[in-house]
C-alpha cells in the first residue's frame, strides 16, 4: 500500500505526531534527535508532494473521506507546494543545526518542550499552507501562533523583555486571528460554505452585498496583522529581537511568508481579481502601507544598535516589498513577490543563524559585540556580508531578480512613484547593511571589543552558507525563477478552483 496518495496528509501529520511524542519524552538529546529526524522527513515529503503537483497540477486530498464542501480537503497547487517546501526546507536546515544555540540560550530542563513547540509550530504552518478550508485555516493559525508565543517567551532566560514582547505578540496575534474569524464568519454567512474553492465560486455573484465587502475588509486587516504589515509591525520587531535566535531564524524565514501566502490565496483565489481590486480598494490600501513599511522599516533599521533588532526592522521593510508585489495585481508583481518570498526566507534565515553564531560566542548581538569579528570569525562574517548583499538585492543575488520584477510590475501598472519607493528602499538597505559590514570588518570606531574565542561551530555557519548558496542560485539561474513565475501565473488565474 504505497503512501504516495497519502502524502498531503502525512506532510502535516509527521511533524504533529513528532511534536506530541517529543512532548512526552523527557530526554533533551533524544528530543533534538527526534525533532531533526522529523523535520528532515517532512522536507522529503514536501518534495514528493511537489513532484506530484508537478505531474498532476492540483493535488486534492479529502480528509476523513468526505468530499469537499461537506468535509475538509487539502488542496495543493504550484503556489502552496512551493511554500510548503520552503517552510519544511527551512525547518530541516534550522532545527538539526540548532542544538548548540539552544543549549546556550534555553534552560536545560526545557529543551524537550522547546523542540515539541518548534515542531508543532512547523506542523501548524504546514497545515495552514496545505488546507483548503477557511475555518481549518483559523485553527491552524492559532496553533502556529500559540506555539510561537511560548517560544518567544522562552527567550526570558537571556533577557526579561522577551516576556513583554511575547505578551504583545499574543495580544496582537489574537486580535488579528479574531478579525480573520469575523471576516470568515461574514463570508460563511453570505455563501454558506467554508471550503475555499466552493466559496470562490459562490462569491462570484455576491459582489454587491455589504456583508461580503465587510468580510473581505476584515480578512485583509486580520491578515495584515498576522503579516506584521506597517502600522501593526511593532510586535514583530520586539518578538524577533528577544526570542532565542534559532526561533527567530525559523520564524523570520517562515511565519511571515505563510502570512503572505494566505493573503495571496485569499486575494487571488477566493475573492478573485474583480472583487479585491475593482470593487474593494485592497490594492490602494495594501500599496500605501507597503510603501510606508519599506521606508519606515528601513529608516528604523538604520538607527538600531542591536543587530537582531536591525534585522527585525529590515524584515518589516522586506514584508513591505512582498505585499507591494501582491497588491499590484499583475503577473509581474506576483512573480516579484514569489521570488522575493523565497529569497528573503533564505537570506534572513542565514543572517539570523550568523547572528546566532555571534550570540553563541559573544553572548549578545549588539554592535559592540560584533565589532571586528571578521578577524576571528571569518566564515560568520562572510555569511553576514553575502546575506547583507542579498538583502540589498545586488545583481546576481535573488534579491535583484525580485526587485527587478517588482519595479517592472509597478511601472507596468503605471505607478512610477511605487517603483521609486522600491529602489529607494534598497538604497536604505545599502545604508544599514554598509553600517553593519563596516562594524563587522573595520570595527566600531573608538571601541575595543572583547575578542571572540574563535569561529563558531560549523553548525552555525554551514547552514547559513548553504542557504545563501540557494539565494545566489536563485539570482543566477533563470529556470529556477522561471518555475516560480509559472506558479505566480497559476495563482493569478485563480488556482483553477
Amino acid at each position: 500500500m504505497t503512501l504516495t496518495p497519502q502524502v498531503p496528509a502525512l506532510v502535516v501529520l509527521v511533524p504533529l505526531l513528532a511534536g506530541v511524542v517529543i512532548g512526552l519524552v523527557r530526554h533533551a538529546g533524544l528530543a533534538w534527535l527526534l525533532a531533526s529526524l522529523a523535520s528532515v522527513t517532512t522536507f522529503a515529503l514536501t518534495l514528493a508532494l511537489a513532484a506530484r503537483v508537478q505531474a498532476e497540477g492540483v493535488v486534492i486530498y479529502a480528509m476523513g473521506g468526505w468530499a469537499a464542501p461537506t468535509g475538509i480537503e487539502l488542496r495543493v497547487d504550484a503556489l502552496n507546494a512551493l511554500v510548503l517546501a520552503l517552510v519544511a526546507g527551512m525547518a530541516a536546515v534550522i532545527v538539526p543545526t540548532s542544538r548548540a544555540s539552544v543549549a546556550r540560550e534555553v534552560p536545560a530542563d526545557r529543551h524537550d518542550q522547546f523542540y515539541a513547540l518548534v515542531l508543532l509550530c512547523v506542523a501548524g504552518m504546514l497545515g495552514v499552507t496545505a488546507t483548503g478550508d477557511a475555518f481549518n485555516l483559523y485553527v491552524l493559525i492559532e496553533i502556529s501562533s500559540l506555539t510561537a508565543y511560548a517560544l518567544v517567551a522562552l527567550g526570558r532566560s537571556r533577557d526579561r523583555r522577551a516576556l513583554t514582547a511575547s505578551f504583545q505578540y499574543l495580544i496582537m496575534g489574537s486580535i488579528g486571528a479574531s478579525f480573520l474569524l469575523v471576516g470568515l464568519g461574514y463570508l460563511f454567512l453570505a455563501t454558506g460554505t467554508l471550503n475555499m474553492a466552493d466559496m470562490a465560486v459562490r462569491l462570484a455573484d455576491l459582489h454587491g452585498s455589504t456583508t461580503v465587502r465587510t468580510g473581505v475588509a476584515f480578512v485583509i486587516v486580520g491578515l495584515s496583522l498576522k503579516m506584521a504589515l506597517f502600522p501593526v509591525h511593532q510586535w514583530m520587531a520586539d518578538a524577533y529581537t528577544y526570542a532565542p535566535t534559532s526561533v527567530t531564524a525559523l520564524m523570520a524565514s517562515t511565519a511571515t511568508k505563510v502570512g503572505v501566502y494566505i493573503t495571496i490565496r485569499f486575494v487571488y483565489t477566493i475573492f478573485g481579481h474583480e472583487l479585491s481590486f475593482v470593487i474593494m480598494p485592497t490594492d490602494a490600501f495594501l500599496l500605501a502601507f507597503a510603501c510606508l513599511a519599506i521606508v519606515v522599516g528601513s529608516l528604523q533599521a538604520i538607527r538600531q544598535h542591536d543587530v537582531r533588532r536591525l534585522l527585525a526592522y529590515s524584515s518589516v521593510a522586506q514584508i513591505g516589498y512582498l505585499v507591494l508585489g501582491l497588491a499590484l495585481g499583475s503577473a509581474l508583481g506576483l512573480s516579484g513577490t514569489l521570488v522575493h518570498l523565497l529569497n528573503h526566507a533564505l537570506v534572513k534565515g542565514a543572517l539570523f543563524l550568523a547572528v546566532g553564531a555571534v550570540v553563541y560566542r559573544q553572548g549578545g548581538a549588539t554592535m559592540h559585540e560584533l565589532t571586528g569579528i571578521a578577524r576571528r570569525m571569518p566564515l560568520t562574517a562572510a555569511a553576514i556580508a553575502v546575506g547583507g548583499l542579498g538583502l540589498i538585492g545586488v545583481p546576481l543575488t535573488g534579491g535583484f531578480v525580485s526587485k527587478w520584477y517588482l519595479v517592472a510590475g509597478a511601472l507596468e501598472a503605471g505607478l512610477w512613484p511605487v517603483a521609486v519607493v522600491v529602489l529607494v528602499g534598497s538604497l536604505l538597505a545599502v545604508a544599514y547593511v554598509l553600517r553593519l559590514l563596516q562594524v563587522v570588518y573595520f570595527g566600531e570606531p573608538g571601541t575595543v571589543a572583547p575578542e571572540p574565542a574563535g569561529e563558531a561551530p560549523a553548525s552555525f555557519w554551514a547552514p547559513a552558507l548553504l542557504l545563501l548558496l540557494g539565494s545566489v542560485a536563485l539570482g543566477v539561474s533563470g529556470q529556477l525563477t522561471g518555475g516560480l513565475i509559472a506558479a505566480a501565473a497559476g495563482a493569478l488565474a485563480g488556482g483553477a478552483p
Partner: protein
C-alpha cells in the same frame, strides 16, 4: 425607513455582538493592567461567538439532535388531547409506514390541537455547523488565555508589576543604565 420597520429589530443579535466586540477591543487597547487586557481579549472573542451561533438559528427549530419519527409522534401526542387507543394505533402505524400514515390513523382532531401537532411533527433542526465552529473557538480562546496568564505571572515575577506603563518605564531605566 423600511429598514427600521422590519429589518432592524430582528438583526438585534448581530448588533449585540458588535457592541460586545467593541467593549472587548476597547478594554484590550485602553486598559494598562495586563490581566484586564486578557479579560478584554476574552470578551472580544466571545462577542464573535454570539455572531456565529445567531447565524445558525432557525426560527421554530429544535436542537440539532436527530429525532426518530416515533419520538416526534410521542412528544406530539403528549401535548395534545387524544383518545388513548387512537394514540396507540398511531404509534404502532409509525413503525412500519412512517409519520404521515400514523397522522392519518389519528383521525380528526380539534383545529388548535391539529395545528400544534403538525407544527411539532414538522419542526426543523438548528444548523449544527456554527455550533461545531464555536466549540473549537471557545477551546482556542481559553487556551490562549491560559498561555497569556502564564506570561503575565512570569512578567510579575520578572518586573514586579503587571501595569504596562510601569513595565515600560522599568525597561527605559534598564536601557539607560545599560547604555551609560
Amino acid at each position: 425607513m423600511s429598514l427600521l420597520a422590519t429589518g432592524l429589530f430582528n438583526l438585534l443579535n448581530y448588533w449585540v455582538y458588535v457592541s460586545l466586540m467593541m467593549i472587548g477591543l476597547y478594554a484590550v487597547i485602553a486598559k494598562t493592567n495586563l490581566v484586564k487586557k486578557v479579560i478584554g481579549l476574552s470578551l472580544f472573542q466571545t462577542g464573535i461567538f454570539i455572531f456565529y451561533i445567531s447565524m445558525g438559528v432557525v426560527s421554530g427549530a429544535t436542537t440539532p439532535i436527530t429525532w426518530t419519527d416515533a419520538e416526534r409522534l410521542r412528544l406530539g401526542l403528549s401535548r395534545v388531547e387524544v383518545a388513548p387507543e387512537r394514540a396507540a394505533a398511531a404509534l404502532a402505524a409509525v413503525e412500519e409506514d412512517g409519520l404521515d400514515a400514523a397522522r392519518a390513523a389519528l383521525g380528526p382532531l380539534a383545529p388548535a390541537d391539529a395545528a400544534r401537532l403538525d407544527e411539532l411533527l414538522a419542526r426543523p433542526y438548528t444548523n449544527p455547523l456554527p455550533h461545531v465552529l464555536i466549540l473549537t473557538a471557545i477551546v482556542v480562546s481559553v487556551s490562549t488565555m491560559a498561555v497569556a496568564l502564564a506570561i503575565v505571572m512570569e512578567i510579575k515575577a520578572a518586573y514586579g508589576t503587571i501595569e504596562s506603563d510601569e513595565i515600560v518605564t522599568a525597561e527605559l531605566e534598564t536601557a539607560r543604565a545599560a547604555r551609560s
